[in-house]
């Protein structure tokens, strides 16, 4: 299936001597992970629909260095950061949007100290702005009245105090937003952060994602909404472990909005 997505690169903008209004930082998961690629495309469809002049770095993008830094490899992190900052600064990037809270956190908070100063937004914040500005409209459609619970990504919520943008978007769907008993600043991690995504967990009596999925299931949701490709994977695995994949979907906020639009 090949659909018509308009995804210009910075290099293309450059040859036309133009500057996009925002750079979409796709991230490693968004570029390579099969599940996350769907989120990337859903977000791009929304950007196309709203006629946002955006660009991606494409093959000039490289890992932000977040998993290296959280593993303790400050060298590798800074090498990655400095390389990325050189590219971003050469293109005179001012505004960045990303669908990955880890990229969001790293570029927003840790790049400035290394010479990279940008206005960085999570895609839920960006989408909310598009809706507020009337560039995008959303009707409840297929999500009207559905029970949706939102899992706060640690690096969006606690790490950066963004709790409302994703929730506002869910409310716009006329869906019933149900909160887990630990949510927002007390939200439980999905288990992927701090580079755990890339290793087996330490010995224990349960996997973190299963614990978190159980908390989500307590709200009797039809959809578990996520705002992070890694949380998405962890929660999807959790739902599978609980054998509920037939009646519960794990979806990114961008997918919810795009689906509501029939995009």
């Amino acid at each position: 299936m090949s659909e018509q997505l308009n995804v210009p690169t910075m290099a293309e903008y450059m040859t036309q001597g133009k500057q996009p209004e925002v750079l979409f930082w796709v991230g490693c998961a968004g570029s390579f992970d099969d599940r996350a690629k769907k989120i990337t495309k859903a977000f791009v469809r929304l950007l196309n629909k709203a006629n946002v002049e955006f660009a991606v770095l494409g093959t000039e993008e490289s890992c932000t260095g977040d998993p290296a830094k959280r593993s303790g490899n400050e060298f590798l992190f800074q090498m990655q950061a400095v390389t990325n900052i050189e590219v971003l600064n050469a293109y005179e990037i001012k505004t960045i949007v990303t669908a990955c809270p880890h990229c969001f956190n790293t570029i927003k908070n840790e790049y400035p100290g290394l010479g990279g100063n940008y206005n960085v937004m999570h895609h839920t914040q960006f989408l909310k702005n598009l809706l507020n500005d009337g560039r995008l409209t959303v009707e409840g459609g297929q999500f009207k009245g559905k029970r949706i619970t939102f899992h706060d990504p640690c690096y969006l919520g606690r790490a950066n105090d963004v709790y409302e943008a994703p929730r506002d978007l869910i409310r716009k769907l006329d869906a019933e937003l149900v909160e887990m008993k630990s949510c927002k600043s007390r939200g439980l991690c999905c288990g992927a952060g701090g580079a755990q995504m890339f290793k087996e967990p330490e010995k224990g009596n349960k996997d973190v994602n299963v614990e978190r999925t159980e908390q989500a299931l307590e709200t009797k949701p039809e959809i578990i909404a996520a705002g992070c490709p890694f949380c998405n994977t962890m929660m999807t695995d959790g739902v599978k472990a609980k054998e509920r994949e037939s009646d519960i979907e794990v979806m990114d906020i961008a997918e919810l909005i795009a689906n509501a639009q029939d995009l």
Binding site: C28, E74, M79, N109, D207
Partner: protein, 435 residues
């Protein structure tokens, strides 16, 4: 002869405060064993945090029951100690209840103290029940065996004894009862003693007076050995607490320098080192012992109240992993104390004892279980950051010892070679567009 009590009092006071001062000096010296970091920024926000979090206990009430109970004990403790001022002046001058000349204000004050004393008594009993009968999970973890458990109870017994002494003292003070102002509670206790002769009452009153002030001096000196240091250190600790977003980890400056050198084509890597640089000790990356941590980390360790709110929110701990952020803080303090004693025993020099924080206290398994989720930092009522210590120790493991788990090494090799944590080619990064 009549000066004897005053002299004894002065001696007790000097001894108590003297020993306390000595321990405070030691405490400051130990904290200064940590690396210097610059926390001189943003003073107004820091004062605000201190007044909200330490004085206003804003984070305590996130757990309403424990929070409100704690506020009662805290207020009781602080306010009743105004009475100590009078005791000290009385003790040194040989006067009796010197402030009683204030009349009705005095009655109001003492009345307030008496009510608070009763509230504190009730609260302390509830606290004791929570620890010993209800057996709340967060007080039962493995790091809470032995001394930490006794410590938690000892302080409660202390409070009970001090409050009972205070009330008995008032009840047996005939002059005070005769004033009949402020004896809101003690007037009901006084009848219990009413058939005793006046001289016996006086003896009881004097004894409780002495025990009360001596008890307070002992309490003061107990702090240094206890998690109750937090009643003092919560103030500086919340002042120096992290101000940047929780997700922001600091960038190591030493690494920045090296990375700049590596990336700068104009720098000749074989050129002679600049003046003064050649004998600089090569920087150690990350932390394997307390001296490698910052002094704020060490202040954190002394401030920890061992309440376990961090551990009870920790995803790793909740799912049975060994990691407990509270234990990270307790280990850091224990090791720091050990290093401090070593320095005392060796005339002010630390002699290598073949031990360190990493391995002898905190294991690799604990460190690798952390998801860096910041739940512990969010939960701590006194702005402690266990995650920061965990990350510094991971840095040591990776950059000094190359001791990361194999899967993480693979992930890092991938980032190095193809700019992604998985083995995909960077040239394929935009393929999703056409899939």
């Amino acid at each position: 002869m009549s000066y004897l009590p005053q002299i004894l009092f002065a001696i007790a006071l000097i001894a108590g405060i003297g020993y306390f001062t000595r321990n405070v000096k030691k405490l400051i010296r130990n904290i200064k064993l940590g690396k210097d970091i610059d926390v001189s920024d943003n003073t107004s926000l820091r004062w605000k945090n201190m007044s909200m979090i330490a004085l206003g206990q804003s984070k305590m009430v996130k757990r309403p029951i424990a929070g409100i109970l704690h506020i009662i004990v805290y207020l009781g403790f602080v306010i009743i100690n105004i009475e100590v001022l009078e005791i000290i002046i009385d003790g040194l001058t040989g006067k009796h209840r010197i402030f009683s000349s204030l009349g009705s204000i005095y009655g109001f004050l003492i009345g307030t103290f008496e009510i608070l004393a009763v509230l504190v008594l009730i609260t302390v009993i509830i606290f004791w029940l929570r620890r010993n009968v209800i057996k709340l999970k967060r007080f039962l973890s493995s790091e809470m065996k032995g001394w930490p458990k006794s410590d938690g109870n000892i302080i409660l017994y202390f409070e009970v004894v001090l409050m009972c002494l205070f009330l008995t003292m008032n009840a047996t003070d005939l002059k005070f009862q005769a004033m009949d102002s402020g004896n809101i509670i003690s007037q009901f206790i006084a009848p219990w003693f009413s058939n005793l002769p006046e001289s016996t009452l006086h003896l009881i009153e004097r004894t409780t007076w002495w025990l009360h002030i001596l008890g307070i001096l002992v309490f003061l000196n107990y702090l240094y050995f206890s998690k109750h240091l937090h009643i003092l250190l919560a103030f500086p600790n919340t002042y120096y607490g992290k101000l940047t977003p929780k997700g922001q980890f600091n960038n190591l400056e030493a690494v920045t320098k090296e990375v700049k050198m590596m990336m700068d084509p104009n720098i000749d890597p074989f050129a002679a080192a600049p003046e003064g640089a050649e004998d600089a000790v090569p920087e150690k990356f990350g932390a394997s012992d307390v001296q490698d941590l910052s002094w704020v980390n060490l202040l954190n360790a002394y401030t920890c109240t061992e309440c376990g709110r961090c551990t009870s929110e920790c995803p790793a701990n909740q799912t049975g992993k060994k990691l407990s952020p509270r234990k990270i803080m307790m280990d850091t303090r224990d090791r720091l104390e050990e290093v401090g004693k070593n320095i005392d025993a060796n005339n002010g020099e630390f002699k290598d004892d073949g031990k360190q924080l990493l391995g002898d206290y905190i294991t690799n398994e604990e460190l690798w279980a952390c998801t860096s989720c910041n739940a512990c930092v969010e939960a701590c009522p006194v702005s402690i950051d266990p995650l920061n210590i965990i990350m510094q120790m991971r840095q040591y493991l990776v950059m000094e010892q190359s001791a990361a788990p194999t899967e993480l090494n693979n992930m890092m090799t991938n980032i190095e070679n193809n700019g992604a944590p998985w083995p995909y080619n960077q040239m394929d990064r935009l393929n999703w567009k056409n899939e």
